[in-house]
């Protein structure tokens, strides 16, 4: 659909739309590049502000009524709490086009009580396994099952110091890379039904299916480069750096698609220095399951300019601009301008997924998510205390979901 004058026909020239999000640096540049054509067409201006305190700022804003026109939302859980303050986008977007271009799971996640309050402005595929083709020649047939992966590790033992690279440090969000691990294992070991009932708080953490996933993750931690001290203290962005060292520190790194813009990946060549394959199947029953995540976007003020910008942002031409600049995947199937083979393939994983699930920790209540992160840091340090970690997560679950 074409952006331009608002639906009512009045000119938007000279109007401004205030936007707050978490994007900074290159992401901010990409977002501004994305809105530029809209600004030129309408004569309106976008005032973007990025903040890492999005939770603080929007919680304060929602409670007091001082809000930007459009805003990035911290996650689906938070969005539900603010659903009353958010504008229903059913009358704002070209809904038929939006639903036809977007995965149904993502449309559903943005809907609260049949109100469409959030759209995914960018997405990422979680749980990709990264390796260096220079170290490891997989001959075009990457391991498709967990067992095949284990035998690949055994047969290539001598090529690196350790099988896995892992780093869970991430400042105030320390622990999250481990939550992705657990989620990926639960999804392929126990299947999407358990996965969903687990983030919904219906399956306990002490449930054998969940415990087994932690134990599988424990095996990975035990085979990680530098041992638990390195895992605990290494920033996730630099966790993969040993892949490129000589001699290599590890064979594999498990991380989402956005790792290509971080650490040593940033200066390495896609395809030759690094490559990936999707997380292998553990139980053949759940083949083709993919976990994704994304940045939600919502609208607080129903102004003509804000409506027009919101409608523009989810269109394929707009999404294509960000996608071309790299580092992000689009929720829109028709945005196809990916700059390299690697991002094209990861985007295809999302669109072709037989079973698609959203990042479970992002879906849990924030208090549960926080406890999950903390549980990961404890487990990495002291795998022997798994039972007490899971018991305390059960306690946090009882508290977090009752609210």
């Amino acid at each position: 659909m074409a952006p331009g004058p608002s639906a009512s026909g009045e000119s938007l020239a000279g109007q401004t739309v205030s936007v707050i999000g978490t994007w900074g640096g290159t992401e901010q540049d990409a977002f501004l590049a994305m809105v530029k054509p809209w600004e030129q067409l309408t004569g309106a201006t976008v005032k973007y502000t990025g903040t890492r305190d999005l939770n603080t700022v929007l919680t304060t804003g929602v409670a007091s009524g001082v809000l930007p026109d459009l805003a990035g939302l911290p996650g689906p859980g938070q969005m539900q709490q603010w659903a009353d303050s958010l504008v229903d986008l059913n009358g704002v977007l070209d809904v038929a086009t939006y639903t036809s271009e977007t995965a149904p799971a993502l449309v559903d996640l943005g809907t609260v009580n049949s109100k469409l309050v959030g759209v995914f402005i960018k997405t990422a595929v979680k749980g990709l396994i990264w390796y260096s083709p220079k170290t490891l020649d997989l001959g075009g047939t990457p391991p498709a099952t967990w067992d095949a992966l284990q035998s690949a590790i055994t047969s290539n033992k001598d090529k690196a110091k350790s099988p896995w690279c892992l780093g869970i440090e991430s400042g105030a969000a320390t622990g999250w890379p481990g939550t992705d691990w657990i989620e990926d294992i639960v999804l392929r070991q126990a299947g999407p039904d358990v996965y969903n009932s687990w983030w919904q708080g219906k399956t306990k953490w002490t449930d054998p299916a969940i415990k087994q996933a932690w134990q599988t993750f424990g095996e990975v931690v035990a085979q990680s480069y530098g041992g638990s001290a390195t895992v605990a203290t290494t920033n996730f962005a630099n966790a993969g750096d040993p892949l490129f060292k000589s001699p290599p520190g590890c064979l594999f790194l498990h991380q989402a698609s956005f790792i290509t813009g971080l650490g040593a990946f940033k200066d390495a060549a896609p395809g030759t220095d690094y490559d990936f394959f999707p997380f292998p199947d553990i139980n053949a029953q759940y083949t083709g399951a993919i976990e994704g995540a994304g940045d939600l976007f919502g609208m607080f003020h129903d102004t003509p300019a804000a409506r027009s910008l919101m409608a523009y942002l989810v269109t394929a031409p707009a999404q294509d601009i960000w996608v071309k600049l790299g580092g992000a995947l689009s929720a829109n199937k028709n945005a196809t301008g990916y700059p390299d083979e690697i991002s094209k393939r990861s985007a295809a994983l999302l669109t072709d997924a037989k079973i698609f699930v959203f990042d479970a920790s992002d879906l849990m209540p924030s208090a549960m998510n926080d406890a999950f992160w903390k549980g990961i840091t404890k487990y990495v340090q002291d795998p022997g205390s798994l039972d007490s970690i899971l018991a305390s997560l059960d306690q946090a679950q009882a508290d977090a979901y009752s609210q």
Partner: protein
């Protein structure tokens, strides 16, 4: 004034009689070593940041900063260029000045009235009240945001987003410490000064403006340095009182924090940004440092 120092024997020098026969600097050597030692200890972390701010991100991640000290050939100004190329850094710098200068002057002046009253006027509960004022220092600013936005927002006074809102907020948040510090200093001023002034018929206003304020110059300088610094480095108050309504008015700290993207890329730019943003507070520190001179109180007593 330190210029008087030559007539003052050094620490411990008089304790050892033999010191008289040694050159003066030998006796003072431990003093200099102690100061330099502490300074180096304090500087090491910052030097690490300085050296790393001159290196490419890949080098920073793979080797320690000290390995690069003696090979300036590897140094690059790229990180600084990248920070200065941010289009909004110039306006944000100006915003920071516009926010910080009034938000320093106003609370210092307002607090000095209260401090003088607490120190030299008689009224019931004054000590308890003075302590209650500083007690508010413990209130986490975050709990004040929602009530304040409701009061100052569009449904209230409608000043959210204006510099006025953030000046008022910083004044209020700075007052507990300012009143505490000034009251304490003013209470130590010699009683005779104020008594003789009162006998000469000076009103409290005259005593305050002509005696209390001039004699408090060192502590006012110290207070001004900190108030300026806290406002200059503040991110959250500015974001809450300005960012939601008027992003054009946001200060440098917000632009700097935005150099890093949401998954942590670009953190190598934080070093250069820190040094750029540090420049003005250091100028303020050096400027006001001149007022840390000895003898203001003593001189006034005699005069």
């Amino acid at each position: 004034m330190t210029a008087q120092a030559p007539s003052v024997p050094a620490l411990g020098a008089t304790a050892a009689p033999s010191a008289r026969r040694r050159p003066r600097w030998v006796g003072r050597l431990p003093l200099h070593l102690a100061i330099v030692g502490l300074a180096v200890l304090w500087l090491v972390p910052t030097i690490g940041l300085l050296v790393n701010s001159l290196r490419p991100a890949a080098d920073i991640a793979s080797s320690g900063w000290w390995t690069a000290i003696f090979s300036p050939a590897q140094w690059t100004l790229d990180n600084y260029v990248a920070v200065l190329n941010q289009s909004d850094i110039g306006p944000a710098f100006v915003n920071s000045i516009i926010i910080s200068v009034p938000a320093t002057i106003i609370p210092v002046l307002v607090a000095s009235f209260a401090a003088y009253a607490f120190a030299w006027m008689e009224f019931p509960f004054r000590n308890a009240l003075a302590v209650a004022v500083v007690g508010f220092l413990v209130v986490p600013l975050q709990v004040t945001f929602i009530p304040m936005l409701q009061l100052l927002g569009p449904k209230g006074f409608g000043i959210i987003g204006s510099f006025l809102a953030v000046w008022l907020a910083h004044t209020a948040y700075g007052l507990p410490f300012a009143v505490f510090l000034l009251r304490n200093y003013m209470a130590e001023l010699p009683r005779e000064v104020f008594e003789s002034a009162a006998l000469d018929g000076a009103s409290p206003v005259t005593s305050f403006l002509r005696l209390a304020l001039p004699m408090s110059v060192p502590v006012i300088a110290a207070l001004a340095i900190f108030q300026f610094l806290f406002v200059w480095n503040d991110l959250l108050v500015a974001f809450v009182y300005l960012g939601l309504a008027a992003p054009d008015n946001l200060p440098l700290t917000v632009v700097i924090a935005n150099l890093v993207n949401s998954v942590g890329g670009g953190w190598e730019l934080l070093g250069p940004a820190a040094f750029i943003s540090m420049a003005l507070p250091l100028v303020v520190f050096f400027t006001l440092q001149r007022y840390f001179v000895r003898g203001i109180v003593g001189g006034s007593v005699k005069g």
